[in-house]
């Protein structure tokens, strides 16, 4: 055999039984049912073993940052909705808090409390979708139907306060777009009562299902040091056992006044930092979110929901600011540079999914091809946010 026909020596993990196969390039995406959007990854395989993978992003690059510096500060908020369209409230919140910090705006207390409620409800809705689609990725259709049934209840609540099912544009610079209608808080309380027992149902249905554990445990192990170096945040980082949550470490709104736990991965059914741990952090966070909503509901004062200083045209003072909040997917940061005019010089969105996704190559190294889908699902990214 001539030297150029011989396959190069492999210093990589082998298939069981050391079966030598030819290396192959396999393209997954951008249109693939399990890539959660238009994500493409080129996988180099040896038989069924993934030797290398190269993510390609940008198929949904919608020019958020160019638009953000071309329109007024107020008009950027609807575009932040469309970054992480599963957690639009949290995106609005992150952007508004950043500009408010730059301007030194004081927000009425009712608005602050309502913001906490909508942010936590949106966290539940986002995790529900992650839960449902992750079940689908592993071959279970039923959890998806259950998750969407309960998610509809949250969307109904959002529809009552702002009229939209997705892309709410509810949190505005200086407060909220509108006050919550009467009895809305009662409906939220009723929802939490309805929803909390459902989480046990989910655990029984999927989390502790033997087949699911076989599929998710010990797969895609992400060590904490790698996660930190690659800038992972949110459930991806906490799944590796690092207790890091902006709501605890640098509290914004009134998160320092409520009691809640930060669930982390414990390696209960497999190795610490595997797909199951990341998945389980999300399920447990839904419980914590319910806990937070309950506490906030106890004290929602009456009053205005918009700061009187917030005008139609905002001109923040010259300067630059970086501020971040805990999104369902991790730390969402906004870096705003202002030169004192009505348009920003630069608005950079540090999206959590962008950093979380970049670690995929590290995790997927040496796994089986079928597990690739499980790993992609466990990172739970939204392409709107990755590509912006």
């Amino acid at each position: 055999m001539s030297p150029e026909l011989q396959s190069p020596p492999l210093a990589q993990p082998r298939a069981p039984g050391d079966v030598r196969t030819e290396e192959m390039l396999l393209n997954i995406g951008p249109q693939h049912p399990s890539t959660h959007g238009v994500f493409r990854v080129v996988v180099q395989t040896d038989g069924e073993i993934v030797l290398d993978s190269e993510p390609h992003i940008g198929y949904l690059h919608r020019c958020f940052e160019k638009i953000a510096e071309s329109v007024d500060y107020l008009k950027v908020t609807p575009y932040t909705d469309r970054l992480d369209y599963l957690a639009s409230m949290c995106n609005n919140l992150g952007y508004c808090l950043t500009v408010e910090k730059l301007m030194g705006l004081q927000i009425p207390r009712r608005a602050t409390r309502l913001r906490m409620i909508v942010a936590e409800l949106n966290r539940v809705a986002s995790h529900l979708l992650a839960f449902g689609t992750y079940g689908m990725d592993s071959g279970a259709i039923t959890p998806f139907l259950h998750a969407f049934r309960d998610r509809e209840a949250i969307l109904k609540l959002f529809e009552i306060i702002c009229g939209q099912r997705l892309n709410y544009n509810y949190v505005r610079i200086g407060g909220l777009a509108e006050d919550a209608p009467p009895r809305w808080l009662d409906q939220v309380a009723a929802f939490v009562d309805f929803f909390e027992p459902k989480i046990d149902e989910y655990d029984a249905l999927l989390s502790y299902n033997g087949i699911f554990i076989k599929r998710a445990a010990n797969i895609g192990v992400l060590p904490a040091a790698t996660a930190i170096s690659w800038g992972c945040t949110g459930p991806v980082l906490r799944g590796s056992g690092v207790r890091r949550d902006i709501r605890k470490d640098e509290p914004y709104l009134e998160y320092d006044k409520v009691e809640f736990d930060v669930p982390i991965g414990r390696g209960e059914v497999g190795t610490l930092g595997d797909c199951w741990d990341r998945y389980m952090v999300r399920v447990r966070e839904m419980r914590e979110a319910c806990k937070i909503v309950r506490q906030v509901l106890k004290d929602v004062p009456e009053g205005p929901v918009m700061a009187p200083e917030a005008k139609k045209v905002l001109r923040p003072p010259k300067g630059e600011v970086y501020y971040r909040i805990e999104n369902p997917r991790g730390e969402l940061g906004f870096y705003v540079v202002s030169d004192g005019k009505d348009k920003a010089v630069r608005i950079k969105c540090r999206s959590p999914a962008f950093c979380n996704l970049s670690v995929l190559r590290e995790i997927a190294h040496g796994c089986m091809l079928a597990d690739m889908i499980m790993i992609i699902g466990s990172i739970d990214f939204v392409m709107g946010e990755v590509d912006r």
Partner: protein, 198 residues
Amino acid sequence: MPPTAPPVNPANQNQDLLTKDTILLTTVEDFVNWCRRSSVWPLTFGLACCAIEMMAVGATKFDIDRFGSGPFRGTPRQADLMIVAGTVTHKMAPRVKRLYDQMAEPKYVIAMGACTIGGGPYWKYGYHVVKGVDLVIPVDVHVVGCPPRPEALLEGVFKIQDLMKREKLLDRLRTYHKRETYKGAGNAAMPAPGTPGR
């Protein structure tokens, strides 16, 4: 003693069937169209925010299966209907075109949401956004909204079913004609087969 059915005279059997309305007379074309519109298979093709509403249409509350359009297929070769749900970017446009080309005739396209119809909120400053998927592939039904409600998408599917009802069995010119008109756009951006990295 249980009652027994009266004996059937074999000579009268066909006549009975006719009088009892158990045989329907129709044209082949109507029959085929009825079959076609009763099982519309959409392509699982989510691009952005609208894809979440498309998932909601397939899920519990809205349940597209009620209207004979259930199974979302993973491959374009098994799909009749492409729901372009979300913003089409310049990087994605050749892919959309290729997926459309891979679908079997007769094929239908729904443009779902403002971005797909004409760029939506990304119209003015979105340098990387295609200003409407019409520039790449022919569209049958436009569904407005940002994102459209699931009910709106269902209505779009009904409109597609209406189109299917009027389909002429021996006249495939409709789709071919559409394809001819759209030959130019998007083709130049098609990556050559096997090109890595594109």
